[in-house]
Symmetry: C2
Subunit: 278 residues, 2 copies
């Protein structure tokens, strides 16, 4: 029988989940409280059916992707815990994993929770910006818990590969949160701070090159979502900010000493390290 | 009579100057000490003639672009000051302007020096990577001195526009150095420090998204050139690093206080500021 997959939250990521799974033989059900998002999904044939009332469809869904902000994903599971199909596999997309597991693992006997993080996004929001290209060659991470069955993990992994992710890794939740504090959250914190440290007395825009543009694009940020991500990962993010500032201070100190060789050594180090990332 | 333009240094930038000016009716002369660069320029019809001996051609050149690292451009002018054509217009490409003016303005009675900065580049070096696309829609800045004639400034401005720069601004040298310390040098300092603060115990590359890649691409850096740029602009760069760290500390403090509203306010500020840059 055709697998039924529900996507809760038809935004940028939910829409991209649906579009990326569309070529496969799944029955896709969209769930959203916004009638415009539902209309868009149906009008563009992104899903087979869509509703603003989860209670009418949850009992039929084999897999449910929670494409919601972390707190709202938690709220959704709590509210609808008795409506999921028996043995339904429920997976999230949150950029913080310890918090999600902490909040949701209490439901381990009711549903099969597979915690995951598609490391991909855009500076835009809403289903109209959803695009299969977002997942192409991107990384997908699963943080298994001791309650996960191998079948459930494999299914989410298969679906992630079908969606276009080129790498699917399994890793412990605290490792995920530590690494993502660096690759994603620190990166955003830097972009925010760089833009905010601009000196308003100049018309800076006439003096920028591609490097500044690339580095600051993510300073256009969804403050509602990212304040939550930052706060829920406060310990690791703070540690990563400190490690970054230590490196920046090494550079600043070399500058103060007019120490050309130390400056060059720091630059050679970063050149080699960055060169190893494709 | 056809204008003769010399390009000293057939590297990434010199090659791009030549390629960008190629569609116009100028006689282009390449000058480089590297026979491979000369052969490449001639074989690919990037210039009309090329030589490793400036003394044979300098006396004929109406315009000379010094596409060299700052110190080498200074050395070149010093060494060949008596070989330039009378009233030749000599322009540089250095990312630091106070230093260049300080070093070269002594020759104001011998040649017409127009100090300029094409704000464009790549992470690669060498004429083989030169590409007209690098200058398309990029910014070009001229820092006039009191010895410049309006004719000379206008000529370089015209040539810059012909090369594809969409904005040509005139600004005082210290303003240039202050702004570029922020938009370019701080940006590179951040990328270097971010990459170097990576925790080697993880295989970070499996957990990165586009934001990290975009932000760190410039961590692959020509240490010879950039150590020089940093040191020659030490005062402004240090001030800009400090201003950036103050902003990052605001964010870190808000995190420590679990102050969601302050975090969101910083994010909203950066979103608006960055949104104003196209």
């Amino acid at each position: 029988m055709e697998m039924k997959i529900g996507i809760v939250g038809l935004g940028l990521i939910g829409g991209t989940y649906a579009k990326s799974l569309r070529p496969y033989r799944y029955h896709l059900v969209g769930i959203d409280i916004d009638p415009l998002a539902i209309a868009y999904a149906l009008d563009n044939n992104i899903v087979d059916e869509a509703t603003d009332d989860p209670t009418t469809v949850l009992g039929d869904l084999d897999v449910v992707f929670l494409c919601l902000y972390p707190d709202r994903a938690v709220d959704f599971v709590r509210k609808h815990i008795n409506q999921f199909k028996r043995d339904a596999i429920v997976s999230d997309v949150a950029g913080i994993k310890r918090y999600m597991i902490d909040q949701l693992e209490v439901y381990k006997d009711d549903i099969q929770l597979v915690f995951a993080h598609p490391i991909a996004g855009r500076e835009t929001i809403g289903i109209k910006h959803s695009d299969e290209a977002i997942f192409q060659n991107a990384n997908f991470v699963i943080t298994p818990t001791k309650h996960n069955t191998e079948e459930a993990l494999n299914l989410i992994e298969t679906l992630a590969r079908q969606m276009g992710f080129s790498s699917v890794a399994r890793i412990q939740d605290f490792e995920h949160d530590d690494i993502i504090a660096y690759t994603s959250q620190l990166t955003h914190a830097i972009a925010i701070s760089l833009v905010n440290s601009d000196d308003d007395k100049y018309d800076t825009s006439r003096f920028i090159g591609d490097s500044y543009k690339d580095l600051t694009r993510i300073a256009m940020i969804n403050d509602d979502l990212w304040a939550e991500l930052f706060l829920r990962n406060k310990d690791f993010l703070t540690r990563r900010i400190n490690a970054f500032e230590e490196q920046l201070d090494l550079l600043k100190d070399a500058l103060a000493r007019k120490d050309r060789e130390s400056l060059r050594e720091l630059m050679r180090e970063s050149t080699v390290k960055r060169g190893n990332i494709k």
